[in-house]
Subunit: 322 residues, 2 copies
């Protein structure tokens, strides 16, 4: 089975790890292509950081810090201590020592003229993803950056998405998101092909606005989803209107969409076939979308729980197969 | 007293630390300007590394690894372990985690358009050098790199100085040194002024070919030394023809100069006024240069030993003052 997924960071990575665990049991020859959001990418200290790709690499490759969901296990921050001692800014984004290794080689390879796709493939190779049938693709090779226009009364100010998300903890209301470079970005090699050739397309419970929503903005991606013959199924990132993790509610509010499982499915209504929701959202109905209630809470408390979610989602995909 | 020194890495840094310790006792208001060799500079993993400047920063700033003479005390190599895991090359140059902090901020600031002089001043500020009356200057703001043409029989091959020094341990004979960019380099701001306004100019026991020799190749530096009214005094880096540390003999051999305290003084004969030698070299005579024998071995076993060498050298400077 060929599965193609769109994914952001922590939620997407945890769900896909569960999906792989499930497939290892029921269909070990399956191939997974992950199309990762790169709108979160940021240059820090002159190094190119791709938070969503890194979280996917570390989670799928077995190097993630389980407690925080991002960054490396057994991490330290000796380098960043030095950067602080030199007065280098910003200090609100934590870069661990092991994590920095990734940013340094990525930056070096990019500076040598390799594309984001090529660099990501080299990084993924170290983490053993190809051996497990996983292809990790950045959504585009064009550098794009999500900026957040803050709603501060009369004044409007734009900050990098990471500054809003990490430093401001999404507490300052966003009035809109602007993705610099996205309109002129091309889908990375393999992205549209992976959507067209998939047997199933899955949307993990990633942020619908600043993760999935950004990938959908890459020219050609949404059209490929609309035209797909494969079922497109997704997992709600909200339970009873609240995000399981992160600040999806603040993001939805910025684009004028209600924080609910139904409203998020509505964002995907032009291509979505099936929608997996929490038992608390059993009454959700979305026109043209088959809703399915997961038998337990949509919480990825461990790999097994995520695997059971993936199992439910694939069962739904079979039911809605066109 | 205003003292200006030319310096390479370990030997220069240890001597100048001793000099400062001596001055703290006898002339605490003294000012020291250090003109550092930048021919050793190298880009590794896309980061700009300046080995001599870093050794000067860490030694004069109190952060040096005393045993090895370079790098940081209490160092670790977690980042480089990651770079190796990703297959990044080269691996023959050790970059510690704390040390990497320096390279990252330097690279970032250079990429922002700051000059090497400006960047070095910011780095030196963190290490408290200005507060102690020390100004650390790169010899030039122009990127220059010493390359070594290897003598491998019929074939000639050039490698970066660091590759010859660190990876090959200077065991493959060098046929010559080529300093890319040096002929078109300008002395950094303050370098020629520091030579012209000095009360004493000192040459620490740095490598006469690839450290002091490179600085002397910066347009204007040698002329400033020749024209100086201040005494120019130096410490022999050789004892009985053998380098105290490093591979000065292999470097001298490459330029066809004998490995001896006298021959090294001969390289400086057009501007050198005084030359401090080891008791083992008491019979050294150099035309036009006042030779002085240090009462003990020219070994910088600790700060006090280096301070006594500096005391001898400054006494010699007073004797030869023109």
């Amino acid at each position: 089975m060929r599965i193609t997924a769109l994914a952001g960071g922590v939620g997407g990575a945890r769900f896909l790890r569960g999906l792989m665990a499930h497939l290892d049991v029921v269909a070990p020859q399956s191939e997974l292509t992950v199309i990762a959001n790169t709108g979160d990418d940021i240059s820090l200290y002159g190094l190119r950081v791709c938070p969503d790709i890194d979280t996917l690499l570390y989670t799928l490759g077995g190097g993630i810090n389980e407690e925080q969901g991002w960054g490396r296990a057994d991490e330290s921050t000796r380098v960043q201590g030095e950067l602080a001692a030199y007065g280098a800014v910003p200090q609100w984004f934590t870069l661990g020592d092991l994590d920095l290794g990734t940013h340094i080689v990525r930056s070096q390879w990019l500076a040598q003229g390799q594309t984001a796709t090529e660099v990501t493939a080299r990084l993924a190779s170290r983490w053993g993803l190809p051996d497990r049938g996983i292809t990790l693709l950045p959504m585009t090779d064009t550098p794009v950056e999500t900026h957040v226009v803050l709603d501060e009364g009369d004044e409007q100010r734009a900050v990098h998405f990471q500054e809003w998300w990490v430093r401001l903890r999404a507490e300052v209301p966003a009035s809109r998101f602007v993705v610099a470079g996205l309109d002129r970005a091309a889908a990375a090699p393999g992205v549209l092909e992976a959507l067209r050739s998939a047997d199933v397309i899955v949307l993990p419970p990633s942020n619908p606005v600043v993760s999935i929503g950004i990938i959908l903005g890459v020219p050609g991606v949404r059209d490929a989803l609309r035209g797909s013959r494969a079922p497109v199924v997704g997992v709600s990132p909200l339970i009873s209107g609240r995000p399981v993790r992160g600040h999806a509610d603040a993001c939805l509010s910025a684009i004028g969409v209600e924080s609910s499982a139904a409203a998020v499915a509505g964002l995907y209504a032009d291509f979505l076939d099936g929608w997996l929701v929490d038992p608390a959202d059993a009454d959700v109905r979305v026109r043209g979308v088959e809703t399915s209630v997961h038998p337990e809470a949509l919480l990825m408390t461990d790999v097994d729980a995520a695997a059971r979610m993936a199992e439910s989602l694939l069962a739904l995909a079979e039911r809605v197969r066109r």
